[in-house]
């Protein structure tokens, strides 16, 4: 069974997509090479466009579908197998042959509203708990169908904590929070931690109500990683240094922060434009080695069982 990891932060622009892409490519490219499925759960479709160009994506969505197809099927009380939606080898470079993709579309933008509007009336607490779990387990059920085909399944979440993200969380064996070393991100990561723990408590409670024999204390392993660290003339800026130390030394996150991090060098932006990971677009560059380190640490923090 694959290890499913969500890349989460309700803040935008904090490197979720870039990190999902690079860790995914790193897992697939470097020994021991792993079979990776990338799931783009963000309607901004950025992960999808890192893996494929516009014309290919249009054809794929028209002919096969996207992640939104899974949710639409649920809304119509149908089932659509993720097997049928996986885009095999969307990237042509042979080094990236181990990567598959479930693409996104802009239609995912209002999926939360559509799911919410379909909420049935409930008369008992058991029904409320069941509906709560059903609405948040759509992606889990879809992933279970393809889980045995992969080593890692990485989900790039949208910058919010609505139902689509909660679906990703419920389907995950762990999650990674990407953050930048600045004041607002540090404020955000503390709020995020509180909110995610609350969501998981709600899940555990619902599971216990629906199935009193279940172990209601399930927690998800999670880690934080710093990305886009401000570096000027080869030296990390003082604010970044201080913010990183603040998070690393805090009681809450002291054992949760990746040692590795990535910088805001232009090599990442150049690679993104070329729709390639830095490993292939600018080998030997700063973020090439930094993302290799991060991939290595990802393997050790989220080991395959």
């Amino acid at each position: 069974m694959a290890k499913v990891i969500s890349f989460i932060n309700y803040k935008g622009g904090v490197g979720k997509t870039t990190t999902t892409f690079h860790v995914g490519c790193g897992l697939a490219m470097f020994e021991p090479k792993k079979k990776v499925l990338l799931i783009d759960a963000d309607p901004q479709t950025n992960l999808t466009f890192l893996c494929a160009d516009f014309a290919q994506w249009e054809k794929q969505v028209a002919d096969v579908g996207s992640l939104e197809t899974v949710y639409s099927a649920y809304l119509k009380s149908e089932r659509k197998s993720l097997h049928d939606l996986v885009w095999h080898r969307p990237m042509t470079r042979p080094e990236l042959a181990n990567i598959d993709l479930v693409p996104s579309t802009i239609e995912l933008l209002d999926i939360d509203l559509r799911l919410q509007s379909r909420t049935k009336a409930a008369t008992t607490i058991q029904e409320v708990a069941q509906i709560h779990l059903d609405q948040r387990s759509i992606l889990l059920r879809a992933i279970e169908e393809v889980s045995s085909d992969y080593d890692y399944i990485l989900i790039d979440c949208p910058p919010n904590l609505y139902l689509a993200t909660q679906n990703a969380l419920y389907a995950s064996d762990g999650y990674l929070v990407t953050l930048m070393p600045d004041h607002f991100s540090t404020v955000g990561v503390n709020f995020l931690d509180r909110k995610i723990k609350q969501l998981l408590r709600e899940r555990n409670l619902s599971e216990q109500i629906v199935n009193p024999a279940s172990d209601g204390m399930r927690e998800l392993p999670y880690f934080l990683c710093f990305v886009k660290v401000n570096v000027t003339a080869g030296r990390m800026q003082l604010v970044a240094k201080e913010q990183m130390a603040t998070v690393r030394s805090s009681a809450l996150f002291s054992k949760k922060v990746f040692e590795s991090r990535t910088d805001d060098y232009k090599d990442i932006r150049e690679a993104t434009t070329e729709q390639l990971p830095v490993y292939l677009n600018s080998p030997g560059s700063q973020n090439d080695s930094l993302y290799r380190e991060m991939t290595k640490e990802f393997r050790s923090k989220f080991p395959l069982s």
């Binding site: 709020f191 201080e242 603040t246 030394s249």
Partner: protein, 167 residues
């Protein structure tokens, strides 16, 4: 980065004042003391001015008192009485017992840092604490670094309260 030209000057003047303070030992000769006290007062006033006045005025006002200091030191260098005093003062400084250095362990908690900062720490000890919290000590004064460390602790505790579900 440009250095503040007055900070070095103030430090030098402070050092001179400290040296001159040693002469205000009660056992020193009264005449010399009077002169020194006056000099100290002038230098202290100058230091205060340096801290407040605009740069141009500070620079124009520095010349004369500095000239006086230099003249005094030239005379003092060959003065037998002053030499004796300096010698005594140096001996008394050497005799002052030095406290053993405080070991700064890694991964200090906020409580431990606060306890340490309540003590009279050396520059290197304060710096060792600052480094743990990603704070650059640079050439800043100890009290500034100490203040930044405490500020970082408060901010961190504030962040943690945001994560507290009971809040």
């Amino acid at each position: 980065m440009k250095r503040n030209p007055t900070s070095g000057l103030i430090a030098q003047l402070n050092r001179i004042r400290l040296d001159l303070d040693t002469f205000s030992n009660p056992e020193s000769r009264s005449t010399l003391l009077k002169n020194l006290d006056a000099l100290i007062a002038r230098l202290s006033a100058l230091r205060d001015q340096l801290a407040d006045a605009p740069l141009e005025r500070r620079l124009s006002d520095i010349g004369m008192p500095l000239g006086q200091v230099i003249e005094f030191l030239k005379l003092a260098k060959d003065d037998y009485a002053v030499a004796a005093l300096i010698s005594d003062a140096l001996h008394s400084r050497e005799a002052k017992p030095q406290r053993p250095p405080i070991n700064i362990p890694a991964n200090l908690t906020n409580v431990q840092i606060r306890e340490l900062l309540a003590q009279d720490l050396s520059k290197s000890e304060i710096k060792a604490i600052a480094v743990q919290r990603g704070i650059s000590a640079g050439k800043r004064r100890d009290d500034e670094v100490r203040r930044d460390i405490l500020r970082a602790l408060e901010r961190q505790e504030g962040y943690e309260r945001l994560a507290d579900a009971r809040a």
